[in-house]
Amino acid sequence: MSKILIRGAKVLGGEPQDVLIEGSEIAAVGSGLSAEGAEVVEADGKVLLPGLVDLHTHLREPGREDSETVLTGTRAAASGGYTAVFAMANTFPVADTAGVVEQVYRLGQEHGYCDVQPIGAVTVGLEGKKLAELGAMHESAAGVTVFSDDGKCVDDAVIMRRALEYVKAFGGVVAQHAQEPRLTEGAQMNEGVVSAELGLGGWPAVAEESIIARDVLLAEHVGSRVHICHLSTAGSVEIVRWAKSRGIDVTAEVTPHHLLLTDELVRSYNPVYKVNPPLRTERDVMALREALADGTIDIVATDHAPHPHEDKDCEWAAAAMGMVGLETALSVVQQTMVETGLLDWAGVADRMSFKPAGIGRAQGHGRPVSAGEPANLTLVDTAYRGAVDPAGFASRSRNTPYEGRELPGRVTHTWLRGRATLVDGKLA
């Protein structure tokens, strides 16, 4: 059985310790562990985290393999320190049947860079009209627990209610892309001072907030679990805070880009900043950071949305919405949450591994770094500083808003069940 000794790693940011991996499990955590028969990785005070879990990834396969595939997407995930990703259902065909989700799941297993947990569509074809076969997707080999029409909002209140009720039978959760469709017709960016000046169609905060308010009330009424995707406004934070205080079973995610970037960047008309929900204001960014720190927002999820160059190298209105995020997420969180003192590394482990695994019921992920647990681990050089160079991305797409921007931290190693997927910053 293979043995790896990670020496002197700050486990969850604590005092340096040794971590011994045997086979697919963590065998021991302590100081001065014997290196006998083990390959030694000198951690030198780097931070060791449980393998990151992304509850919101777009892998594009099947259908848009020119943007990303399960292989390239999971290689990007491993590069970013992830050991499990949840793949959104808006593929072609849509992941609304057992067949499609099993295909995506199996590709993840075959490639072996990262566990891929498919998300099933809530409605057939993401059309918002008829429930997809939620039970069949759950019972398939993929074992789907998270359902989402992401990219589109389940805006029909009755369909949303039925979905929330139905998934209770197998402990599922509905992840809502909160966007009132009528209020966002023709929307191109956050509605406010900048959109008024640029003459771009506004995406008002209330279009997100009104759906979240409705859905937390529905979840309360039927006693179910709802998850809010990529929450982006200060007002949404207030609603989720209220819902939690009332005991409603709601969880919420924020993307790295909504923790860092604002709609002022849209003044460049550079579509690399075009994303849905749109970049908001400084005030929203600060509210999101605080909410992530105090637990109102449960997790960070990337909304990794790869697009080929030609879909972004055009005028704003014609460009696709979305940004890649798997390979920069941890750096952005380090800059916005850790270096601002809002969150320590244990907090990062909680928001990027423990909690997302819990919400998605990801088996074997988001576990403590202790003996007997699966060896899903990520080693981070937190002292690193460097400009983001998309040329080095493992993702097939390069639509990052951070090109040339200096971000802290770099994932050097990732282990999936004891097998290295990333070694010294290079894919294994």
């Binding site: 509605e191 005028e315 704003w316 014609a318």
Partner: protein, 325 residues
């Protein structure tokens, strides 16, 4: 002057006054028997229109021809152009043909800015209207018309619009003319008031350098110029206002309302006018309405802009300029 004209907000007061003064010189050319200057001989200007606008295109074309430029008209509508990437492709094709300036009209806000800043093309870019963003030459011709009427043709040279009170009425939300005018008129020292039903005022307008009112009647007596903006009938179906009748009752300009304006005040309209709803025939045909002059002034302004952007650093028409700033 800068290399491109994308937004009225990019113009300094001195840039704007220089353009207005140069346009006065250009206007004199129109009074000559041969309405042509050799200034842009050998230069190629492309009118790249992704959106229909015969009026604007003809105005630019007349300006280009009066300056002796070689003119290429490219109308994208109805051609193979449908995907976004075509803007880049088209630009690069034109670049390969060695064009000196591109006059672009596009349905998407920001398209001219992208064209000017993405490295796709080296030519000067002139925004002839982009989405609901900007239409800077329209704002310049409006300012030119105001200066002629409110300050004076020759007395106006070197002058801005300091202290003039301008009211813009109509669909502010969807209007690139409104955005351009607010920027330019503010730069030129005028006080601007926007009047519209609240549904047609953008969220975020509070950061603009102007006042906003929902009541036309109370602003009329304090206006040196009232500019009516186009209100498209389909806005009614999208619930921006209840009925055409109600709109014109509250925001239309008729003879009674015009009578409340000061004696010297003018009525402006970028055209085409929707008679009956925005403006009554009585007002449209009155002496005080400058709609036709605005069209003529458009050619002079566009000549001035082309001349200055394409490197004109001498007075365009040698005998008329008084002194350089």
């Amino acid at each position: 002057m800068q290399r491109h004209l994308i937004s009225a907000a990019d113009l300094t007061r001195d840039d704007a006054v220089l353009i207005l003064d140069t346009a006065e010189e250009m206007a004199r050319v129109a009074d000559r028997p041969i309405k042509k200057l050799p200034t842009l001989r050998g230069r190629t200007v492309v009118n790249l229109f992704f959106e229909d606008s015969t009026r604007t295109r003809i105005s630019f074309e007349a300006a280009e021809k009066r300056l002796s430029a070689d003119v290429i008209n490219f109308t994208a509508k109805g051609s193979s152009v449908s995907k976004g990437e075509s803007l880049k492709d088209t630009a690069q094709t034109l670049e390969a043909m060695g064009v000196d300036a591109v006059v672009i009209r596009h349905g998407a806000s920001g398209a001219p800015y992208r064209l000017a800043t993405s490295g796709w093309i080296d030519a000067a870019v002139i925004n002839a209207g982009d989405g609901t963003h900007q239409h800077p030459t329209q704002a310049l011709l409006d300012a030119f018309t105001m200066r002629r009427r409110l300050v004076g043709r020759d007395a106006g040279l070197g002058q801005d619009l300091a202290g003039k009170r301008i009211t813009l009425v109509g669909d502010i939300l969807h209007s690139r003319v409104a955005r351009s005018n607010v920027d330019l008129l503010h730069t030129l020292g005028a006080e601007v008031t926007l009047v519209a039903p609240p549904t047609l005022v953008p969220v975020g307008v509070e950061s603009w350098p102007c006042e906003v009112s929902y009541d036309l009647d109370s602003t009329l007596s304090k206006s040196d110029a009232v500019m009516l903006l186009r209100v498209q009938r389909e806005r009614m179906n999208a619930a921006f206002f209840p009925t055409e009748r109600e709109y014109s009752r509250r925001y239309g300009l008729d003879g009674d309302r015009m009578a409340k304006m000061p004696e010297h005040a003018i009525v402006m309209h970028p055209g085409p006018m929707v008679r009956g709803m925005e403006i009554t025939a009585e007002v449209a045909d009155s002496e005080r309405c400058t709609a036709i002059e605005q069209v003529a002034n458009g050619v002079s302004i566009r000549m001035a802009v082309l001349y200055l952007l394409l490197g004109g650093n001498e007075p365009a028409v040698t005998h008329t300029r008084t002194e350089e700033k």
